[in-house]
Amino acid sequence: MPSNKPDTFQAEVETSPARRSATRQSIYLYIAAALLSLVGLADSIYLTVEHLAGRSVQCTITSGCEEVLTSTYATISGLPLAGVGAAAYFIVFSLAILAAFGNRRTGDFLFYVVALMLAVSLYLFALQAFVLHAFCQFCLLSGAVTLLLSLVVAVERFYFKRK
């Protein structure tokens, strides 16, 4: 008696073109997230090293690097905040690479990590704007990277996953 099982199995393996396209788009988005996180990682490493070396970072576009990077908000219990940022960007890079290679769980985890980073970035931006009244270009770059990361991750999660 012929069975339908092979057909069913075949149907599961051969996904629709739209589904394949969505998967490919997700991979591209995860790669984009990984590349963006490298920009944030480089920025954070630079700020961390300059902080640990005790050198003052000079702004070339904005004028508040000194004020922001020597403020009390630049460290957490003596640990440079930029170092925490570097660790976060590395985690994002790792998760994005793993997700790009098909690990779904890391994709979900990546979404929550980036959401947390966005919240922290918004808080730090508000500190610069309303408390310190000074902007540090390297901090703004980090904020912009996190914002773009959030967009990329949100598009992947809410747009392509549903297709």
Partner: protein
Amino acid sequence: MKRYLPLIIIVGVLSVALGAGVTLWRSSKRANSNTQPFTQSTPSPPAASPAASASATPNQIPVSQPGQLGIARVHERGGTDAKVTLEEYGDYQCPPCGMLFHDLKTIEKEYGSQLRFIFRHFPLQGHKHAVTAAHAAEAAGLQGRFWEMHDMIYQNQLSWSPADDARPVFIQYARNLNLDVDRFTRDMDSADVAQRVTADYERGVSLSVPGTPTIFINGRQVNPNAYTPDGLRTAIDFMLGNKK
């Protein structure tokens, strides 16, 4: 192989990141690798500068008297005949200057009459209240209270620095110091006070002052790495030892 590819990429990026960090750290340290308290070369001010020409050696710099503004005269405290003169080029709104202020107070207290401390204005363009603060200190100096205003401005740097308009804050400080506020306000806007601040700045430029804070001890530029209590002690002791 493909199974391990993401891990290889992650470990590779981690290695590159750590390597870049270490390289940056080393180059940063190499730039300041001079362990001597003083920088290698200390340029001499050109004689063409009126402010500079009035101070061939640090211990011969004319001193400002209360109520006196003379362009080449400086604000000093500590031992007037001290063997060691520490001259700071500072910006009232620069955060590292604000931090150094507390270290310098400690050093001044420790060395007492052995140290002569001179402050020079070097307001930076990026700090919007720096010039106003320098004018406030000079205006207070015209009523004999330069150092009181100087200390008050630095001690409260974090409170007035973010303000949109710091001028009313300085006027309040003048009131707290029991100064003639009307005169103080007039003096803050006077051309003489502006010229006095500019003279300090120009002297700093003539000495190739790279930024703030910059410290000279007996005319020798101190290595920025030594802008700590221990570093300054080493530099001052070095000079005291040389003079013995």
